[in-house]
Amino acid sequence: MTKDHRTNVRKLPPCRNACPARVNVQGYVSLLQRGKLEEAVELIRQDMPFPAICGRVCFSPCEDACARTNVDQAVAIRAIKRLVADVEREHGKVKPKPIPKVHNERVAVIGAGPAGLTAAYELAKLGYPVTVFEGMAEPGGMMRYCIPEFRLEKFVVANEIEYIRDLGVEIKTGIKFGKDITINSLKKDGYKAIFLAIGTQQGMKLNVPGEDFDGVVNAVDFLRDVALGKQVDVGETVAVVGGGNSAIDAARTAKKLGAKEVLILYRRSREEMPALPYEVAEAERDGVKFHFLVAPKQIVGENGKVKAIECIRMRLGEPDESGRRRPVPINLSEHQYKVDMVIPALGQVAEATSIPEELLDKTSRTPSMQIDPVTLETKMQGVFAGGDIATGPASIIEAVGAGKKAAVSIHRYLQGMDLRSGREEVEETTWVKNWGYINKKERRYEPPVEKPRLSFEEAREYLENLKRHAMFEAFRCLGCGPCAECLANLELCEGDKAVVDEALCIGCNVCAVVCPFGAIKKNEKEIAQVNEDLCKGCGICAARCPEKAITMKKLPNERILSLALATVKG
């Protein structure tokens, strides 16, 4: 393997590399192997504040990347995360201590969705006073208002937001951005940096005739009304148009609210659906019917109410820029479905009114603003934006990733540092190159979809059982990453790092040559320097240093020797 000496490249296992929030997957899985559940949750919280939420609804890019897929199936990473987070909650809510504010610069975050809350969480951990402004009555954004209760319980969302609040983040709800507050008013109030994480709230229109009939409700509005507890009437037969996760959510919600028949109309085929396969399977189990390769042409109404939806058949043509095959209409294939409700679920765009005039990108078709993809800066100084507003509707974990990025930028901005240079780059590394001798062990742990109602005793047994199964699952992890931040709690490697005795170092460069991670480099004084972020504590440098200038903090040569000679007597 060629060695590279770029300083800011972190070599990560495939799962962590695939995660937009860079959650230390290998770490918490291996902590679970040793039965350390609390530590596992803590480790997840180091990287993001939503273990229980992501344990339920994350689209788990980590599992797609998992090296175990080369042997049999991926480790059930999401299920493991859900378990550790749930067990922690069942054992009594953890109340973190507020983090002391070491900085004076106040930061305002607009929007209490996953991106905004993560940014607030990260900044609070750095010691900034952060205020989050939320337009709705409760924080949580799409996590609370768009994901239905049967996929993500509201109390789970509330619980994780409570944790962020306990850290000392102030969350003000019911304050509309653009109406109650503006960027200028915030700046006047003394906020030194502002993070716009307003998301995309407006459901996209079908753009077919008849969209104004009574009974056409956009998926976002439909889900939000249900989440708000409003009286929502669903018809006898409901057509949901679209193939994403919100289409599935809307269809399943409609079914659970009493619709006799729910159809999902999607213009491509099953393979191209953006929705997660297991969500689709769940929807089918709920009795939702799928119609593929159909696109709505118009909505037929009677007395101002929806009567039917007219569709046209499609076939798949050449792949488009997204790599999926483009649907092409088939002439004279119009047909009607008799429905009394149509739910378009074609994705969301930002509300035009939500973006401040001075930031609005007038060249774009949809309301958006220009955002630097690396630093998340906008055109205005001290104003950052990220999350769905920057990327278009995406996932929770991507929003979390954006929130973390924003926190780094804001911290650098407030401290007068360069925003761009030396930002962390990551690269995938695994030590496993030979799959031949790994025994196949099929994945067998999937969390139950719905928790059964149990008595107290039964519940405890149930939980213990789950824990045991999850530990079995954790042992399927190959630990294929370049080592082991994961063993952080073991006596052996707890933060073991190489230390250079500058008086002894002669600058021979042997350590830099042997270090597998390029963590050691000579500084301008020709003395070796250890980059503690990259050092994994293997100690190869300490074993090779010709002048014995490098020692390990936890496991120096003397300790190895005394351990080795412990049984030798006389």
């Binding site: 030590w431 293997c538 100690g539 300490a542 040569n557 351990l563 080795a564 000679l565 030798v568």
Partner: protein
């Protein structure tokens, strides 16, 4: 001390370690380290000096290593150690390098027992027998010092760079060339450190040293000149016309 206990140290990579399968003989003392590459060659020689009968190094099966090439680094170190051990007169089989994975068909205990059997066949460490002790101890000490000294360690650390890459002059060493170089330097360093150990207790003449080392006086003198340059040794006094040398403390 139990007379029939064979002291064996087993340095083991944390990643090759598997607790459930640890039904190993009590003669083995397992020391877990993060990577088997962590083991300094000097540590291994010191354990021999203290009377350990055998050392087993357990690392992950190449090409797998949590530290990319830690196990291969160990392989290089073991190659050098065997050369040194041969010079000391100890059996080279006392060092064993095992590539192991917890998912292996055979348990670790199997390999541990096998190694124990091999060591039993070789017998007790000669360092335990008083008659041979003094001579061997000097050798092992010399080897240990050689392994902790600059030259061998640089060579060891740079092996990969030298044999796989090219140096600043655009030259590349073949593995055979490097091996010959290593042989030469190991022998030189061993002899020099042996002279150093021998002259530590009392000043010795070149002639006396040549007798102990079973070498030509001219060669011994060459080493002494080299060692004087490196401040390892100094002229103590002259007896008649014979100069006697005494070791200096190294750092």
């Amino acid at each position: 001390m139990e007379a029939d206990k064979y002291n064996i140290v087993c340095f083991m990579c944390n990643w090759a370690f598997c607790q459930e399968e640890m039904q190993i003989p009590s003669d083995l003392n397992i020391v877990r380290v993060m990577c088997i590459g962590r083991i300094d060659p000097a540590i291994i020689l010191e354990t021999f000096e203290k009377g350990v009968y055998g050392v087993m190094l357990v690392g992950c099966k190449p090409p797998d290593c949590h530290y990319i090439d830690g196990n291969l680094q160990t392989e290089r170190a073991v190659k050098m150690l065997r050369k040194l051990l041969k010079l000391t007169g100890l059996e080279t089989e006392r060092i064993k390098l095992l590539w192991y994975s917890p998912t292996d068909e055979k348990t670790f205990a199997y390999y541990a027992k096998k190694f124990l059997k091999e060591i039993k066949e070789i017998g007790f460490s000669p360092l335990r027998r008083e008659a041979q002790k003094s001579k061997l101890l000097v050798n092992v000490l010399a080897a240990k010092n050689a392994a902790s000294d600059f030259r061998l360690r640089v060579l060891l650390g740079r092996e990969k760079e030298l044999t796989e890459g090219v140096n600043v002059y655009g030259e590349k060493l073949s593995v055979e060339e490097f091996d010959a170089l290593l042989d030469e330097i190991v022998t030189e360093e061993f002899v020099r450190h042996k002279i150093h150990v021998l002259t530590k207790t009392e000043p010795l003449s070149v002639k006396a040293l040549a007798d102990v080392l079973e070498m030509k006086t001219a060669n011994v003198l060459r080493h002494i000149v080299n060692m004087r340059r490196k401040n390892m040794i100094a002229l103590d006094h002259v007896e008649g016309t014979t100069p006697l040398y005494k070791a200096l403390e190294v750092k």
